[in-house]
C-alpha cells in the first residue's frame, strides 16, 4: 500500500456552491431582459463593489498588504477609459481590458517604491502615491484638469442599450475578478501567499520568492481596480478627480472585506452585498452613516475578526475549492504508521 491518505480540494459544499455561483452568474446575466434599465443601473454599483472588495481582499487578506491607495488605480482606470475612448477613438467597451493593462503597468514601478515600506507605513505610502497620481492628473488639461471630464463617445448609443452593455461588462469583470483570484489562490502561488502572510521570514527561508509573489498580487489587484474604475466611468459617463481619487473607496473596500470576512473568497462577495444594501438604507442619515460604517468596522475587527462569512461557515462551509481535505483510508492500514525515533 503506497497511498495512506488522499488529499482532495473539492468537497460537497464546494461542488454545490460552485454550481450555485455559476447559476447565479447566469441568472444575473439575464437581468437586463427581466427588469427595467434604471434598476439594472443600480446593480452596476454592486458588481463594482464585488470587484473592489475581491481585489482589496487579495491584497490584504491573502497578500498581507494593507493598501490605502487603491483609488490610484480606480482613477487611472476611469481616466484611461475616457482618454482612450474620446481622444484615441478606441471603442469604450473594448477600452475596459486595455485600461486594466495600463493600471497593471503603472503598478509595476509603483511596487518597487511601495515595497520599501512595510505594514502600516506601506499603507500610508500607497496613500501618498495615490495623492501624487491625483495631483498629476489634475495638471493635464486634456483630462479636464481639476474639473474632470465627461465621456462623450457613448452619447449616440441608446441609453437602455448602454446600461445593459455596461452591466454585462461589470458582471463579466466581477466574474473574472473572482475566478482569477480563485485560480491564483488555488495555485502554487496561493500556498506561497499563505506562507508569506503567516510568517514572511520562514517563507523566505523555505525558498518562497516573497517579493516576486507580493508583486504579482499587487499588480493583479491594480488591474482589477483599474477595470472597476473604467466601469465607473462608463456608468457615470465621466470622471471627476476628487471623487474618483477619494480615499473613501478604500474605506468602502475595507468595510466590505472586514464585514464579510478577510482572507476568504466568499467574504468580500458577502460584504459587498451587505454594504450595498446598508448604503441604500443608511444614506438617509447623511454623514452619520459613515460614522456607523467606521464603528461597525472597528467592532467587527476586534470582536468578529473572521467576519460574517467566517462566523457563519466556521471554516466548514466553502463555496470555492481552495482548501485541502485530508482523507484517511477507510480501513485501518495493516502497517502501523512510521514512528519517529
Amino acid at each position: 500500500m503506497t497511498e495512506l491518505v488522499t488529499i482532495r480540494r473539492a468537497t460537497t459544499s464546494t461542488r454545490v456552491g460552485g454550481g450555485l455561483l455559476a447559476l447565479g452568474v447566469v441568472a444575473l446575466a439575464m437581468l437586463p431582459y427581466v427588469i427595467v434599465p434604471s434598476q439594472v443601473f443600480r446593480f452596476i454599483d454592486l458588481l463594482v463593489f464585488v470587484v473592489l472588495a475581491t481585489m482589496w481582499n487579495l491584497l490584504a487578506g491573502y497578500g498581507g498588504m494593507v493598501s490605502v491607495g487603491q483609488q490610484a488605480y480606480i482613477g487611472i482606470g476611469a481616466y484611461g477609459l475616457v482618454y482612450l475612448a474620446d481622444q484615441l477613438g478606441v471603442d469604450a467597451f473594448l477600452a475596459v481590458p486595455l485600461v486594466a493593462v495600463v493600471a497593471a503597468a503603472v503598478a509595476i514601478p509603483v511596487s518597487f517604491l511601495a515595497f520599501r515600506l512595510v505594514g502600516g507605513y506601506f499603507a500610508i505610502g500607497t496613500w501618498v502615491i495615490a495623492e501624487v497620481v491625483r495631483l498629476l492628473t489634475v495638471q493635464v488639461d486634456d483630462l479636464g484638469a481639476g474639473a474632470g471630464t465627461s465621456l462623450r463617445s457613448l452619447s449616440d448609443i441608446d441609453r437602455d442599450l448602454r446600461i445593459a452593455y455596461t452591466y454585462w461588462f461589470a458582471l463579466g469583470l466581477a466574474t473574472v475578478a473572482v475566478v482569477a483570484t480563485y485560480l491564483l489562490i488555488r495555485s502554487r502561488l496561493g500556498i506561497a501567499l499563505t506562507a508569506i502572510r503567516d510568517e514572511p521570514t520562514a517563507a523566505a527561508s523555505n525558498g518562497v520568492e516573497v517579493t516576486r509573489v507580493k508583486r504579482i498580487v499587487f499588480v493583479v489587484s491594480a488591474a482589477g481596480c483599474g477595470a472597476a474604475g473604467a466601469i465607473l466611468a462608463l456608468s457615470s459617463l465621466g470622471v471627476q478627480p476628487d471623487s474618483i481619487y477619494s480615499v473613501q473607496w478604500t474605506a468602502y473596500m475595507i468595510f466590505m472585506v472586514i464585514i464579510g470576512g478577510v482572507g476568504t473568497l466568499e467574504g468580500p462577495i458577502v460584504g459587498a452585498v451587505l454594504f450595498y444594501v446598508l448604503r441604500e438604507w443608511l444614506a438617509q442619515f447623511g454623514v452619520i452613516y459613515l460614522v456607523v460604517l467606521g464603528a461597525v468596522a472597528i467592532a467587527i475587527t476586534l470582536f468578529v475578526p473572521q467576519g460574517l462569512w467566517g462566523a457563519v461557515s466556521r471554516g466548514r462551509l466553502r463555496l470555492f475549492a481552495v482548501g485541502h481535505t485530508v482523507r484517511l483510508p477507510a480501513e485501518p492500514s495493516p502497517t502501523p504508521p512510521a514512528r519517529r525515533t
Binding site: A60, G64, V66, V68, F112, L113, R116, L117, V118, G119, G120, Y121, A123, I124, G125, W127, V128, I129, E131, V132, L135, L136, V247, T250, A251, I254, I258, V262, G286, V287, I288, L290, V291, L293, G294, A295, A297, I298, T301, L302, P305
Partner: protein, 289 residues
C-alpha cells in the same frame, strides 16, 4: 518671496511637521501601531481648542493647558480600551481599527462643525515677525513652534534614555513578554506611551490651527505630512524626524516658490525620491525592519 526666504520659512514649517511626526513615530516605536487616525486626532484637538475659545473665551494658547492633558487622558483610555486589543503580531487589526477611527472622527467633526475652514486666532503675535533683511523676516509664531518642536524632541529623547519610566517603555517595546516577566505592566506602558503621543498630537493640532486653516477633512493631509517626515528622516531616529520635517517643509516651500500650486506635490516627490534613493531615511539607524 526670494529663494532664501522660501528655504528659511520651509525650515520653520519643518518644525511643525516634526511636531506632528513625533506622536506617530512614538506610537510605532513603542507598540508597533501605525495610527492612521493620527491626523484626524490632531484636527480633533484643534476643534477641542476652538470650542474652549468660543465657550470660555480663552486664548488658544491657554487652551493648551486643557487640550494637552485632555488628549493625553483620551489617548491613555483609547489604548487601554480599544487599541490594546489590536496589538498582535499581524499589523492588520491595528490598521483597520485606526482607519475606522479616522472615518468616525472625521465624520463626527463634519457633523458637529460643518466643512467650513476654521482658524484659531491669537492676535498680533501670530502675524508679528523679526525683520532680518529687507525681504527676509522670521515670524514669531513659526519660530516658537520650531523651538517647541526641538524642545519636545530633546525632552522625549532624554525621557526615553534617562528616566526609569522611559527605560521600562523601551524594554516593553523590545520584548513585551520578558518585560512582563520582570514585573512590568505592559498594557500600562503602552497606554502611557499612547498618552504621551496623544499629548503631542493635541499640541501639534492646536499650534497648526493657529498657523493655518483647518477643517474636519484636514486630518489625512496632516497624517501624510507626519509620515513623510518620519520616513525621510529615518525610522527610530528622533533627530531624523526633525531633519525629515525640515526637508519636507523646505521641499514644499521651494516647490511653491517655483510654482505656487505645486507646494504639496513637491513635498510628495521629494519623499518618493528619498524612498527610491535612501529607503531607510537620511539618518537611518541599525538594520532594516
Amino acid at each position: 518671496m526670494t529663494l532664501v526666504n522660501a528655504v528659511v520659512q520651509g525650515v520653520l514649517l519643518g518644525g511643525m511637521y516634526a511636531l506632528f511626526a513625533t506622536g506617530l513615530s512614538l506610537m510605532f516605536g513603542v507598540m508597533r501601531i501605525v495610527n492612521l487616525a493620527h491626523g484626524d486626532f490632531a484636527v480633533f484637538g484643534a476643534f477641542f481648542a476652538l470650542v474652549l475659545v468660543d465657550s470660555a473665551s480663552l486664548s488658544p494658547l491657554v487652551t493648551l493647558l486643557i487640550v494637552v492633558p485632555g488628549m493625553a487622558a483620551f489617548g491613555y483610555l483609547l489604548q487601554r480600551g480599544l487599541l490594546q486589543r489590536a496589538v498582535v503580531a499581524s499589523p492588520l487589526p491595528a490598521l483597520l481599527v485606526t482607519f475606522g477611527l479616522s472615518i468616525v472622527v472625521q465624520n463626527l467633526l463634519l457633523e458637529l462643525f460643518s466643512a467650513d475652514q476654521r482658524r484659531l486666532q491669537i492676535g498680533s503675535f501670530e502675524t508679528g515677525s523679526f525683520q532680518l533683511t529687507y525681504d527676509l523676516a522670521i515670524g514669531y509664531f513659526p519660530a516658537v513652534v520650531f523651538a517647541i518642536a526641538v524642545a519636545l524632541l530633546v525632552g522625549l529623547s532624554l525621557f526615553l534614555r534617562r528616566t526609569q519610566l522611559g527605560r521600562l517603555m523601551r524594554a516593553t517595546s523590545d520584548d513585551q513578554e520578558t518585560a512582563r516577566l520582570m514585573g512590568v505592566d505592559n498594557r500600562n506602558m503602552y497606554a502611557l506611551a499612547a498618552a504621551i503621543a496623544f499629548a503631542t498630537v493635541g499640541l501639534a493640532g492646536v499650534l497648526n490651527g493657529v498657523q493655518t486653516n483647518f477643517s474636519p477633512a484636514s486630518g489625512p493631509t496632516l497624517l501624510i505630512f507626519a509620515f513623510e517626515a518620519v520616513i525621510i528622516g529615518g525610522l527610530g531616529s528622533l533627530w531624523g524626524t526633525l531633519l525629515g520635517g525640515i526637508v519636507l517643509g523646505v521641499a514644499q516651500n521651494v516647490g511653491a516658490w517655483i510654482e505656487p500650486a505645486q507646494q504639496v506635490l513637491a513635498g510628495h516627490l521629494v519623499f518618493l525620491l528619498v524612498l527610491a534613493l535612501r529607503p531607510r531615511g537620511l539618518l537611518a539607524k541599525g538594520a532594516p525592519a
